[in-house]
């Protein structure tokens, strides 16, 4: 799992960087209670994450907070005033948050403001991110499992679907955005304009001349 590898490599780096402060190096390994001390595993550092690893490691060593626990958590403030705590690795699936971390906009203990998304939607989005952390593993069984998860995940009511669309667009979570757009497209495939209006609960707002023009251009497609 990518989360495991990242954190391991982070800790290895801490040991390397703080080689003078023995107590720091000693404290960290025991805190990794369910991750084995495995050289080979940590050697496989995902290429794209090395910058963020270094930044995270720098953040940890600078502030000197070593007892944070094995996984770095991020705190996000949603639009409705609730704080959402999430693992850094999961949150980094959002390109917006990743860029904020990499640009060092948010310090270790700062709270990241997400002014457009509510806490409920945030936790939904992060549930998707967590499930898709290992994307690209290539295992067929995992891919099928993810596919059925996606199908269940996106079978929500229209309001939630809109929230997911807006949230994933704001946070730039490409996989979820594509999934949600595909769901909306599937909802209206093969439907007539009346049915589309009914599904989305929107009103026809053409003037009589516009309506005539629109009908002339598009009547070929539906009954």
């Amino acid at each position: 799992m990518a989360a495991v590898t990242e954190t391991e490599s982070v800790d290895k780096k801490i040991r390397m960087m703080n080689s003078s402060s023995e107590e720091v190096a000693v404290e960290n390994p025991p805190a990794i209670n369910h991750m084995p001390e495995d050289d080979s595993a940590s050697a496989a550092i995902p290429a794209g994450n090395s910058l963020s690893d270094q930044v995270m490691a720098a953040a940890i060593s600078e502030t000197g907070e070593t007892g944070e626990g094995e996984k770095k958590n991020l705190r996000l403030m949603s639009s409705d005033g609730k704080e959402v705590v999430v693992e850094a690795a999961v949150a980094m699936k959002s390109q917006l948050i990743r860029q904020m971390i990499e640009a060092d906009c948010a310090g270790e203990s700062d709270v990241i403001n997400i002014p457009n998304v509510t806490a409920a939607v945030l936790s939904l989005i992060f549930r998707y991110c967590e499930k898709h952390l290992g994307d690209g593993d290539g295992d067929k069984a995992i891919a099928n499992d993810l596919k059925s998860f996606d199908e269940d995940f996106i079978s929500v009511d229209l309001d939630t679907l809109y929230d997911l669309l807006m949230g994933s667009n704001y946070l730039d979570v490409k996989g979820l955005l594509d999934l949600a757009c595909q769901k909306v497209a599937d909802l209206i495939k093969g439907k007539s304009p009346d049915e589309i209006r009914r599904i989305f609960n929107i009103e026809k707002d053409f003037s009589p001349e516009e309506e005539e023009e629109v009908n002339k251009e598009n009547k070929w497609a539906f009954e």
Binding site: A185, I202, F222
Partner: protein
């Protein structure tokens, strides 16, 4: 969903209580529209004015045209349709209209026959694109108009289309779009699905016909794919014209059929299966008509033969009688 109940309103204070598709960012809506097929996009265009303005972005329709007919990606073709890809799509996507009495209304101005015909051919085998060709044919020359109507899409084909895969002729889907750059009209003359598959044991070939979409005055434009049974590959892809009386159709007559079909209306889209069924029905009706005419012609000739024989016999008997009873 739109709701006025206070309980729901108060529970989601911070977020918008009633989001509609119009609250979504236009980029998100465009992203969704990009995933739609032609008829659904046209329906979305007719829903509201916001959807209309987003759906009529021409690059949406251009992408749709190019993904439906990959042969249009030719640099010669792109400028021709980029002016109005939506119009082109609605022209080329639908099947030509068919009139029961087999006489399509011809415009009064009697526009000149097309001087150039551009063909965009795409063949799919089991859903996979195997052949995509863009052919420009000069049709104003007397050589073309005097010879039998024929457009060949396999001129410089040297390699097999799908090496290693045996083509199953019944599972081919063909689209042949004829475009007249002067008039700016297009028509898809193929029935998409094969209407007839004939095995010719003597040449070792299988001939697959895609016809029935373009029928006019007893002539039908037919796309013909010839597969070799030995190699299992496609050998030839041509566009021909057939006549109900099996008379050869000249280039000029073929062009007239093309022009008539291009200018006649298009069928309202009733779904892929329904349209393909109808095209097949039309071709079978044409074949039935062909057979009927052949039989009636044979009967007529038989009657004629009988008459002549009877007259001949009568003359002979009369002569005999004359000689015997002189």
């Amino acid at each position: 969903m739109l709701t006025d109940s206070p309980a729901i309103t108060s529970s989601s204070l911070a977020a918008a209580t009633t989001t509609t598709i119009e609250d979504l960012h236009p980029d998100v809506v465009t992203r969704t529209l990009r995933l739609l097929d032609g008829p659904t996009l046209a329906a979305a265009c007719s829903a509201t004015s916001q959807l209309r303005s987003l759906s009529t972005q021409s690059d949406l329709w251009l992408k749709l045209c190019l993904s439906t007919w990959p042969s249009l990606q030719h640099p010669r073709f792109l400028p021709l349709i980029s002016a109005s890809p939506r119009y082109f799509f609605s022209d080329a996507f639908r099947f030509p209209a068919f009139h029961a009495n087999n006489a399509l209304p011809v415009s009064e101005e009697a526009a000149a026959l097309p001087g150039t015909l551009i063909s965009a051919v795409d063949i799919y085998h089991r859903g996979v694109l195997i052949f995509s060709r863009f052919v420009e044919t000069e049709t104003s020359s007397s050589w073309f108009r005097g010879s039998p109507f024929l457009i060949d899409a396999t001129d410089q084909m040297a390699e097999p289309l799908l090496p290693g895969v045996i083509i199953s002729p019944g599972e081919l889907m063909l689209s042949w779009i004829l475009f007249d750059p002067a008039q700016g009209r297009a028509v898809n003359v193929s029935s998409r699905r094969a209407v007839a598959v004939e095995r010719h044991w003597y040449t070792g070939e299988t001939v697959v016909r895609f016809a029935g979409a373009a029928v006019s005055e007893g002539k039908v434009i037919c796309a013909v794919v010839t597969c070799s049974e030995m190699t299992g590959q496609v050998q030839e892809v041509v566009l021909t014209a057939e006549d109900i009386d099996d008379v050869c159709v000249s280039g000029e007559e073929g062009l007239q059929v093309v022009r008539t079909v291009m200018e006649a209306g298009r069928n309202k889209w009733r779904g892929k299966a329904a349209e393909e069924e109808e095209a097949k029905e039309r071709y079978l009706e044409y074949l039935r008509g062909k057979r009927r005419r052949k039989e009636s012609r044979a009967r007529r000739e038989g009657a004629m033969d009988l008459c002549c024989t009877a007259i001949g016999v009568a003359v002979f008997l009369g002569f005999l009688a004359l000689v015997v009873f002189r």
